[in-house]
Every structure is written in C-alpha cells, then in structure tokens.
C-alpha cells in the first residue's frame, strides 16, 4: 500500500515540477552571469552567448532554426503575439480568423478582443470525440482570411488535431497557420516542418522548465508585427531585456524532453491505459472523454455519472492525489468547461469530469492507488447523491 502521507501529482497539464538539472543550469545566470545581453562588455557577452545557445536548443527540439525562435513570457503571450501580430500588420482593415471552439482561453480571449476591434472570427466545431473537421476549416476560408489558429493538443481532453492536413489547406489558400503546441511539445514528437505550420506556441512550465517563459516559433518569411513596443530584442518582435535564467532553463528542459521522447510517451501511455482499464473494470457509468487513440499519451479525462467534479477533486486531494476538474457547478463559472460542452457531453456526466495528466515521475503503483481511491471516491459521492438508497 502507498504511504498515506506521500502526495501524488497527476496534474501535469496544469504545470510540471522543474527538473533539478534545469535548476542547476539556471542558477549561474542569477548571480555570476547576470549580464544584459545587449551590453558590449564580457558580462553582456556571456548573456548573449547563453541566449544564442538556448535559442539553438529550443529550435532543435522542434526542428526549427535558431532565428525562428522568439522568446516570450509563455504560452499566453505566444498565442497573443501570433494572432495580434498578424492582424495588426494592417491597422483598421477588417480581417478574418479561423479557429476552433476547443481552443485555450489564450486564443479564445485574444479572438474576443480582435472581434471587439472589428475583426471577424469563425469558430469551427469539433466532433463528439473532440476533433475538428478539416473540411469545415476549408469551407470557412474567405478572401479576407489571414490566419488559422488550431491547437495541436487540447489541454483538457488531450485530443490531437490533424495539423498536417490543415497546413495543406492553409498553404493552398495562402493563409497563415498557427498552432498552440503548449500541451504537445515534450509529450509527443513535434516538428514544425512535418506539421507545416507558420507559427507555433510553446510554454516552458509544461515541460519541466520554469514558469513565465516560452517561445513563439515564427517560420522564416512570416510577416509579423510586435504587440508590445520597446527596444529591438527578439528581432524586434518581443522587446524587453531577456529573462536569461528562465530562457536557459527552458532550453535545458526542451533538450531533456526531446531526449526522453524515445521512452516517456510509450511509458506514460502504458500507465494511462492501465488506469483507464482499471477504472472501467471497477466503476459503473463512466466515460472517457476525447478520442480513443488521437490523444496525448499522458491524458485521461473521465466523467462519472452522479458525481460532481469538484467534490471528486477534493476527496482525491484528501487521499493525497492532485488531479483537476474541467467541470464545476454553475457557481464557479457560467457553464461546465467549454471543451466538454463542445463535445456535447451528456448533462448527466458533464459535471462529473476529472482530468488526470500523468508525468515522468508517476509510477504504476501510483496509478493503482489512484484507481482504488477513485473507486472509493465515486462510491462515497454516489451514496450521497443517488436518489435511490445504495
């Protein structure tokens, strides 16, 4: 049996612990090598060198070239820069964006803003398995469409979108393609040429790097304007003295993640599949949300009838397990998660969803412990909720 006091973290889609090797790589850049990369002296040179090395490592992890990496403060800023940066090339001109109902708020809220200043947005729907229909995207293209933004992997249900196919359509129609790959980089192989994207967002803290740093990959030849203004850093696209320590950590984390791609995805997939099997064998009225195979290897989003997500989360937390819920009663938000809404989940199930996102350090023992705790949790909550005596 598991040591009761040990806490088990299974919420890696929210954030990940920083790898100790990443911390080691970062430390000198706070104290000894603290220079400003724009300074000409040796302190500045050290910083500039570190920045260039880091850029190379991040580029290498996604098959890009060094010049194509723009460091930002994270996934949110990268998404903002991609969308706003394309649309603000022609101020005052009404332009059209195609995105999906499944996107992260970093894209959806940016689209809301762009709509508020006069642009037009088409949100393509997704199937009940959480996948966009490439035909819907093709049909949505208009003369004034300038960018398509479809996430690579979804943060809640882990579904992986057919980016390669969308890229062909984008190319044929001379429209930019941006993908939010915040959840996929480090979990599955991501190569910008294979995907065929023009822009791609990454966030360091989802791949065992520090928080508050990320990148936007910008394919050479892509025309983009900055959305914040200042000095000439990051090819003028993201002014501000660089967060060298953070960037060095991000780069180290990217390299480690790339190295581990040979083993981590398969291992996590095995744990995840074992978990799903155990849950389906021991608990009635449960569903797996998202696609059976087109999904991240570390993600299991499960819905249980007659139990509520927050209550499940709290009982699991008391058992020492950290997961998350996309569903909340209407007190917390207007609706249950827009993602679960978008796949048309049965109302009897929509409030009882939890997301389990595994990480490198999770073990089969922990998965067994979670499966047992889930069984107890669901039984307990159903005893409280069920209209018939259990």
């Amino acid at each position: 049996m598991m040591d009761i006091m040990k806490r088990i973290y299974m919420d890696h889609s929210a954030t990940t612990p920083v790898d100790p090797r990443v911390v080691d790589a970062m430390l000198p850049y706070f104290t000894e090598k603290f220079g400003n990369s724009s300074s000409l002296h040796s302190f500045g040179q050290e910083a500039a060198e570190a920045l260039s090395m880091a850029r190379g490592h991040v580029a290498d992890s996604i098959g890009a070239r060094e010049e194509e990496i723009i460091f930002t403060s994270g996934g949110t800023e990268s998404d903002n820069l991609a969308l706003q940066g394309v649309l603000s090339r022609e101020p005052g001109k009404r332009q059209h964006i195609i995105t999906s109902v499944l996107e992260h708020p970093a894209v959806l809220s940016t689209c809301d803003f762009l709509k508020s200043i006069g642009h037009d947005v088409t949100y393509v729907p997704v199937s009940s398995e959480g996948i966009v229909d490439v035909g819907d995207i093709e049909r949505a293209i208009r003369d004034d469409t300038v960018i398509i933004s479809i996430m690579h992997a979804n943060n809640e249900i882990g579904t992986i979108q057919p980016i390669e196919e969308i890229a062909k359509i984008a190319k044929d129609n001379d429209v930019y393609l941006h993908t939010d790959a915040v959840q996929s980089v480090g979990k599955i192989p991501v190569d910008v040429d294979q995907l065929g994207v023009d822009m791609l967002s990454i966030s360091s803290h989802k791949l065992h790097g520090p928080k508050g740093v990320g990148a936007l990959y910008v394919r050479e030849g892509t025309s983009l304007t900055p959305v914040i203004f200042g000095g000439g850093h990051e090819s003028g696209l993201r002014p501000g003295t660089e967060n060298i320590a953070g960037i060095v950590g991000f780069a180290k984390a990217s390299s480690i993640a790339k190295e581990r791609l040979g083993t981590d995805p398969a291992r996590m997939g095995r744990l995840r599949d074992a978990l799903i099997k155990k849950v389906f064998n021991t608990i009635d009225d449960v569903r797996l949300n998202g696609h059976a195979t087109q999904r991240l290897p570390n993600n299991a989003n499960l819905s249980f009838r007659h139990v509520e997500g927050e209550s499940m989360l709290m009982l699991l937390d008391i058992a020492g397990i950290a997961v998350s819920t996309g569903s909340a009663c209407s007190s917390r938000s207007q609706h249950a998660s827009h993602v679960l809404d978008s796949i048309g989940l049965d109302p009897d199930y929509i409030h009882g969803s939890i997301r389990i996102s595994l990480g490198r350090e999770n073990t089969m023992d922990e998965v067994d412990y979670l499966a047992e705790a889930l069984q107890e949790t669901v039984a307990k909550l159903r005893q409280i909720s069920s209209p018939v005596e259990c």
Binding site: E308, S331, R332
Partner: protein
C-alpha cells in the same frame, strides 16, 4: 480555500439518506447547473423529528446540505423556517468567494420541504 469545518462536514456528512414516509420533500437545482439537493423531513407534533438529504453537487452543496439538516433537526417548523443563510455559513466557518449561487440551495430545499409538508397537512 475552504475552511477546515467545511472539509470536515464534506468528508463526514451526517443525515445522508431518504425518508421513505417523509411528511415533506423539497428539491432544488438541476443537473444542468450541476447541483441538485433534495431534503426530506419527518414532522411530529410540529417538530422536525428527522431531516435527511441527498445531494449531487460540489463541496459547498454537500457541506451546506449536511449543515442545514443538522441545524433543522429537532427544531419546530417555525424555528426551522427562521434559519438563515448566514446561520448556515457561520456554522461552516464561512464560504469562499464565488460560491454564493449554490450556498443557499440546501436551505431553499429545506424551506421547500416545509412548504410541501404544510400543503399536505
């Protein structure tokens, strides 16, 4: 963050169940919103001899349900009707922000059960 008292009540709820021959039943909420609370009362000589609940819902829905039933049990119908939302929240050591909407459901369900009882008798 939830108070210690809320977590305690949530993890060890009292009065969970159905009263088969209830004198009054009150249900509040819908599965669409994600909280459904049903309160059952047994009344004898104008006193709530037994109060039970079934709740599908969040931590607040469950902890307020058990608290409302505990506060109401043994009270006269009039006294039970006088229980306020604040009484429930105080007994739970306060509620976090953003949970106002479902915090009153359990009390509403109790009041509905009393109404049901009065309509019947």
């Amino acid at each position: 963050m939830y108070s210690k008292k809320i977590i305690e009540e949530f993890t060890n709820p009292k009065n969970v169940g159905i009263i088969e021959d209830a004198d009054g039943v009150g249900e509040i909420g819908s599965t669409i919103d994600g909280d459904v609370i049903t309160v059952y009362i047994k009344v004898d000589d104008d006193v709530l001899k037994d109060v039970k609940f079934k709740t599908f819902g969040c931590v607040v829905a469950i902890s307020t349900s058990t608290m409302v039933t505990q506060l109401a049990k043994g009270k006269t119908v009039e006294e039970a009707l006088a229980i306020s939302n604040e009484d429930v929240q105080d007994a739970l050591g306060g509620l976090p922000k953003g949970k106002d909407r479902c915090s009153g459901f359990a009390l509403d369900a109790l009041h509905k059960a009393i109404e049901d009882y009065r309509n019947k008798s």
